[in-house]
Symmetry: C2
Subunit: 341 residues, 2 copies
Amino acid sequence: MSDITRVALDAMGGDNAPAEIVKGAVAAVKKQKGIKIYLTGKEDVLKKELSAYTYPEEMIEIVPATEVIETAEPPVMAIRKKKDSSIVVAMNLVKQGKADAFVSAGSSGAVLVGGQVLVGRIKGVERPPLAPLIPTEKGVSLLIDCGANVDARPSHLVQFARMGSIYMESVLGRKNPTVGIVNIGAEEEKGNALVKETFPLLKECKDINFVGSVEARDIPSGNVDVIVCEAFAGNVILKLYEGLGATLIKKIKKGLMSSLRSKIGALLIKPALKATLKDFDASQYGGAPLLGLKGLVVKTHGNATANEVCNSIVQCVTFKEQRINEKIQEAVQSQEEKKES
Amino acid sequence: MSDITRVALDAMGGDNAPAEIVKGAVAAVKKQKGIKIYLTGKEDVLKKELSAYTYPEEMIEIVPATEVIETAEPPVMAIRKKKDSSIVVAMNLVKQGKADAFVSAGSSGAVLVGGQVLVGRIKGVERPPLAPLIPTEKGVSLLIDCGANVDARPSHLVQFARMGSIYMESVLGRKNPTVGIVNIGAEEEKGNALVKETFPLLKECKDINFVGSVEARDIPSGNVDVIVCEAFAGNVILKLYEGLGATLIKKIKKGLMSSLRSKIGALLIKPALKATLKDFDASQYGGAPLLGLKGLVVKTHGNATANEVCNSIVQCVTFKEQRINEKIQEAVQSQEEKKES
């Protein structure tokens, strides 16, 4: 295994592409040695963007791609038709073994479809979940799955729990991470059909530190490391996290401007408030990995700026060093063998 | 129809019963004329609690009930066995037409089961949804359903939309309220099987002002009056709203205590911050109605204090005056007739 982590970066995806993506790439290679970035996208545009920076030039290489997949495009069709798009070209680099990881702020749908169709699933993985880190009182928890594949089966959720545990242990260093399932009550008999079927399966798994149900109210407390749920619920949780945080902060800021007294107070609390809110800013944790694929696929926020892009790239190094995919493969195969015996 | 709104109040349910419940009852009859309260629970205990207050005594009457249903008890069994519990006695008052409304801070499960078994559904209503108001940037939206009956069918969601619209128009005075369905993307083809099936049904309803999908991120903005979802998702949204709000506020307060500078600032902003956060405090909006039953059933928070209990009782007056149940019955029957013709 090479010591260099090679990242194929979709330079054309996201609201702030290509400027912030390129800026993030430059920041990453300057921040950490051992990262080689393949920037995919329109050659002339990217050359111009790069020319504004000084950086170790051998660590960033442009791989031309003439097309761009837009967010609104139906993803299956887009991946099939736009063979020279920045996403497809970058994913093919992973498929061909020329890159270890793929990072994009572009169309979530296209990244999910491309991940499965082009990069491909690890043998035995039924469905690759999108697993972002969400901020909590204690740090972060992994929310798995927030992807576009809804209506999961119990066996999917069990694999999510297993893959999520490996990720939290290897990447975040949480020893024997706790796993909870999102539910509408603490008792085992509560829940919808999917949760009721999954609960006993998780209890049986000796390789998963399952602690039972997590009510949505308790997610922000951070008492559970890996929060397992079906993608529809996961998407609701992730998006509400973002939306509610933004609304509360907006309301507080508005409230602070309501009187002279509070305006003066606002000036005094600004640094403390800023530090507090930064803890709750999802972007500092980088992108969300799509776990269970034959390479690392990372989806960052559509509105990602250079800082988040840089963090997402740097995150790929730990992922590779910690051999996450090998560990997932071993865990899944060992389960398969148990089933067969 | 009598001008008096008669409320059967479960005086033994909730974390702060009976003290806060009784205090809330007294506050309600003092705040608004035309409310008669039947307090159900242990007679000696309630007599003692009431003796601390002066109030129009003919407006509060104790109806003895010797048993209490605990939150952890399996609800179906509890409702069946504990016939002399404060919940069952109070619900029977509604069933017998002696009370117009039922209010409880006790076991959600028992209230939901009792509502269906004892009070009974309006003819044609397939499933009674629990519909709390949630705070938004613009005021409040109705989140329907947050109850315990999960795995809903599309026809249920359509009825939720209809009942929620009637409630928002009649109780909150929103003309032609907008209705959205919780989804993981804005497009019609997005979503799980339930949402995909429900979407075209809602589009067809001429009596519903359906505006399409609502992503969880946009719920706090308050752009949609009635937010329709299946109870599992609704429960996740409601609980996360409460949990995330509490966590953010705790973090901000902690942040403000981090330096002398911010401590001084905190003193100055306190009134403004308090007013802002009050807007986002769900308890001031009273309890959540369980819609579609033959009487009004209101569930308040388990940790409700006198203020929320009082608001929940007062809310019953509007519900009765606005003839919500008659309107729901008319709407449901008119749909039934359309189906038959």
